[in-house]
């Protein structure tokens, strides 16, 4: 006779914004390492705020459990008590990924997504254009920036979501979400996958066989012309994104394995205790400062002169 599935309790409370993203990595640990189906009780009752980066990771984790048929009957979803938080999660299309869980509260009305980019899942190259255009359009809608800024965001996001398809080998694909906060002049995008991680990806290229840990792998990946697949890819996406955010006064956050690198220019790079399979890339841009990708490109000549840029890559 089959035994009853275990119950897995996960409780989210307080805030999981850009600065507190690590709280989300810790919160989803029980879900990340589940080995068999369980009745998941997701308690969002005390949730106050969850930023798009944390939301993208949570959504990816839930999607992965659903993919593996690990969400057993009997799971429950306790909705946030805070009405604004509930409405926000609705706008971000979070609950549509939780069909396997039974909401305890009454359903509530959906509001249109203006200035937010609800969670978008992508698994193939063909699915990328609506993701990048949707994410960058959210910047225009919410933060009233010009077409130049939109183009800059579009370009960077195009590179980042393409990285998921080309390098992550994520069985669940990627999840992206964005939010603009007009009052704070900030725009945040988070992209999460549960693939091999940056270190695992670069390991395919013998040139990077010297990488010893996840932090080193992330830092290496932010350098120009670093890629697992030099024949196919240029390895410039993270580097260009970092330059753009540095000029803008924004920030880049990359979390992969036990590595965490944050900043744009003077990065903080640390090894953390909590392991995250795959990679999360988040960027936070200032919308009251220029976001001009072409001005970044014009600086590349100076960069080339100042640095011994790239020294060749072996093919994979």
């Amino acid at each position: 006779m089959a035994s009853e599935p275990e119950t897995m309790h996960v409780r989210l409370a307080g805030s999981y914004d850009f600065d507190r993203f690590e709280r989300m990595v810790e919160a989803v640990q029980p879900l990340l390492w589940m080995q068999e189906p369980a009745a998941v009780h997701l308690d969002l009752g005390g949730l106050v705020f969850i930023g798009p980066t944390s939301l993208a990771l949570l959504e990816a984790v839930i999607n992965d459990l659903a993919r593996k048929s690990f969400l057993a009957v009997g799971g429950q979803l306790i909705l946030p008590r805070n009405e604004m938080t509930r409405n926000y999660l609705h706008r971000m299309d979070f609950f549509s990924g939780l069909d396997a869980l039974e909401p305890i509260d009454e359903p509530f009305s959906r509001r249109p997504a203006v200035g937010f980019q609800p969670c978008m899942r992508f698994r193939t190259v063909d699915e990328l254009p609506p993701v990048t255009s949707g994410l960058s359009q959210a910047l225009v809608d919410r933060c009233k920036v010009d077409e130049v800024a939109k183009a800059a965001m579009w370009i960077c996001l195009d590179e980042l979501v393409e990285n998921v398809i080309h390098h992550a080998a994520s069985p669940v694909g990627g999840v992206a979400a964005a939010q603009g906060v007009l009052k704070k002049n900030r725009f945040e995008v988070g992209i999460a996958d549960l693939g091999v991680g940056i270190r695992g990806s670069l390991a395919k290229n013998p040139k990077h066989a010297d990488i010893e840990d996840d932090v080193q792998a992330i830092v290496r990946a932010m350098e120009p012309f670093v890629t697992a697949t030099p024949r196919r890819n240029a390895g410039t996406g993270l580097f260009i994104t970092k330059l753009l955010l540095k000029r803008n006064g924004g920030e880049l956050l990359i979390r992969s394995g036990r590595g965490l690198v944050r900043g744009a220019g003077q990065e903080i790079a640390v090894t953390v205790d909590t392991h995250l399979p795959g990679t999360v890339v988040a960027l936070r841009a200032r919308t009251d400062q220029a976001l001009d990708i072409n001005s970044v490109y014009e600086q590349l000549a100076v960069y080339e002169a100042d640095h011994d840029v790239g020294s060749g890559e072996s093919d994979d």
């Binding site: 130049v148 579009w154 370009i155 012309f225 590349l300 000549a301 080339e304 840029v309 790239g310 020294s311």
Partner: protein, 91 residues
Amino acid sequence: MIRPVEQLGPVLSGRAQAKVLRSEISQDLANGGHVVIDLDEVIAMSPSFADEVFAKLANEIREERIEFRNISPGIQSLARFVTLGRTREQS
């Protein structure tokens, strides 16, 4: 003359789209033509797009079989950058 803005809009991004354009260029070259690409009205280009159309066609550009018109200083700089990376990768 090829005007990418007409098919792809003012932001040229996506390696897959760039591959389609590169294929079109290669086809014209194979037919013995001199290909002119007009980048007028293009606001920005992604590095991966530039890699496909500049770096991977560097020989043809050097041989002046491909000519770019109305190219902005930013995109010109990006083109040099990605071509440098690929040249070093091959050396």
